[in-house]
């Protein structure tokens, strides 16, 4: 068993959180509130030391007054709390939206629309290997049928109804894969905590 007090703190807090699985109780509440408080404290200190101080206050202290512009833009967010001047918040929001849209739209279109579209195209090169050819066709059929499922301008009847039903099958397979991976991710968190309790705390495993 560990003699490190911090391991004990970690282990006891883990058990406090797990106690919720039985039912809600004061130990769980304590663990939860402590986590929220510690996480907030961590972020405040982290951003002060790694972002605000080196990127804003130190340059300002060194006489680089151009940094007053981001300072003022940042402070304008707080005008939301003063109704008389709350309209000022539109300035930093407008700046952020303009910057974000200008940067994101071309990049997003290139990376997530054009390249993905390219990946769906079945070319003669897709059939260099029979299996890859079959998979390319399945991807093409899956993409078209799924898109048809989300086409709501016409009633899903006849050929549109049949293809949209095939689309549902592809969507369900996607949901199933996501669910399987989600289970795996959540169980991994449990495994990590159990490894911590059995290893560093109890010393039962390496």
């Amino acid at each position: 068993m560990s003699s490190d007090p911090w391991i004990w703190v970690g282990a006891l807090l883990t058990l406090m959180i797990f106690s919720f699985l039985y039912k809600d109780n004061p130990f769980y509440k304590f663990g939860e509130h402590l986590f929220v408080g510690v996480a907030n404290g961590y972020y405040i200190v982290f951003y002060w030391h790694n972002s605000l101080r080196p990127n804003l206050f130190e340059p300002l202290g060194a006489g680089e007054f151009i940094y007053l512009v981001p300072l003022l833009l940042g402070l304008m967010y707080f005008t939301r709390f003063i109704p008389k001047v709350s309209w000022l918040v539109r300035i930093p929001i407008g700046f952020m939206i303009g910057w974000g849209a200008g940067l994101s739209i071309p990049a997003l279109f290139q990376a997530e629309v054009l390249r993905q579209l390219e990946g769906t195209v079945v070319a003669p090169s897709s059939f260099t290997n029979p299996m890859s050819g079959i998979w390319s066709l399945i991807i093409l059929v899956g993409v078209i049928c799924t898109l048809i499922y989300f086409f709501f301008s016409k009633e899903h009847k006849g050929i549109l109804g049949h293809t949209s039903r095939i689309g549902i099958i592809f969507i369900m397979i996607g949901f199933g894969a996501s669910f399987g991976y989600t289970v795996m991710a959540r169980v991994s968190l449990l495994i990590g905590r159990i490894q911590f309790l059995l290893g560093p705390w109890l010393g039962l495993i390496d």
Binding site: L21, Y22, Y42, Y43, F46, Y47, N50, S51, N55, L103, S104, A107, L108, Q110, A111, E112, R115, Q116, E118, G119, I139, G174, A177, S178, Y181, T182, V183, M184, A185, R186, V187, S188, L189, L190, I191, G192, I194, Q195, L198, L204, I205
Partner: protein, 292 residues
């Protein structure tokens, strides 16, 4: 209460107890459930194998958090073992505020492991020559784009406060032209930014090690070649551990491989419960129909 009603109303605490027991069991009873290596994991491994030693660097973006440590930490360790064993320089950095502590832990433990086996000073890993950790930076999109021009402009100092110009490695690696691949180990959507911005503008190769819950979203990027390799959750980490062990870069399997035994047993249990729940639902619905 009928049998089919009973199986749909199992006390959740019994399920939790069974689940916990099956997680613990493989740690004490040797159970080996074979793991297949998925092509996307092998692709990442092969990509790094193809990088010539002491040439271009591998950039690892440590962007995972303590709660996702069981999935991403073993990936980081295996990746570092492979790079260091092959003499590939490593540049670490982070954009998640919770990640720097974990990045330093992964680097320190692997460097100590290698140094403990070193027979001469030349065999040891030297900070600033073989690896560097640049630390955390705010405004990640701007930082990722600016690194395409000058990494030193974005990170003038490393995580420990030293000027990066003082490191021989950083004099060799100026921008993405000197980076073979960026591997993002993440528990949030950080790889998407790398695909959208630096890859689109500079053509840098991108790979990812992700928590399982995020993995399905990235498979289309593997198919188009935008992602050069992918480790998916604990399974991906276990696969990489195995590849690294099989190539003689590690002495033993790590935590992910042990965890996967628990993982496989839990999956069997969950499948049993899903089948039981469906059988119970089917029969109770049929009974209700008959009663009407």
């Amino acid at each position: 209460m009928k049998w089919y009603d009973r199986i749909t109303r199992i006390d959740r605490r019994i399920i939790y107890l069974l689940l916990t027991s099956l997680v613990i069991l493989p740690f004490f009873i040797k159970v080996t459930i074979p793991q297949n290596i998925m092509p996307q994991t092998k692709r990442l491994f092969d990509f790094i194998e193809a990088i010539p030693p002491n040439d271009k660097a591998v950039m690892i973006s440590f962007d995972y958090t303590p709660q996702t440590q069981p999935e991403c930490h073993p990936m980081a360790k295996s990746l570092l073992r492979q790079c260091f064993s092959r003499g590939i320089p490593v540049i670490g950095l982070s954009f998640d505020p919770q990640a720097p502590g974990l990045a330093v832990d992964a680097l320190t433990s692997i460097v100590n492991e290698f140094d403990s086996l070193a027979t001469s000073k030349e065999d040891s890993l030297v900070y600033g020559v073989d690896y560097v950790y640049l630390g955390w930076k705010s405004g990640r999109i701007a930082a990722q784009l600016d690194m395409g021009e000058d990494i030193g402009g974005v990170f003038p100092r490393d995580y420990f406060g030293a000027l990066i110009d003082s490191f021989p490695l950083m004099n060799k690696v100026k921008n993405y032209k000197n980076v073979a691949i960026v591997v993002i180990l993440a528990s949030a959507d950080y790889p998407l930014d790398w695909i959208r911005y630096p890859q689109t503008r500079y053509g840098v190769n991108v790979a990812a090690g992700l928590t399982a819950v995020m993995a399905p979203k990235y498979y289309p990027f593997v198919q188009t070649g935008q992602v050069s390799g992918l480790m998916s959750g604990m399974k991906g980490a276990a696969e990489y551990e195995k590849l690294v062990l099989d190539h003689g870069y590690a002495r033993a399997l790590g935590n992910a491989e042990t965890g996967m035994n628990s993982q496989s047993m839990i999956h069997i249990l969950i499948m049993i419960f899903i089948i039981l729940g469906n059988v119970g639902y089917f029969f109770s619905r049929r009974q209700k129909g008959a009663d009407k």
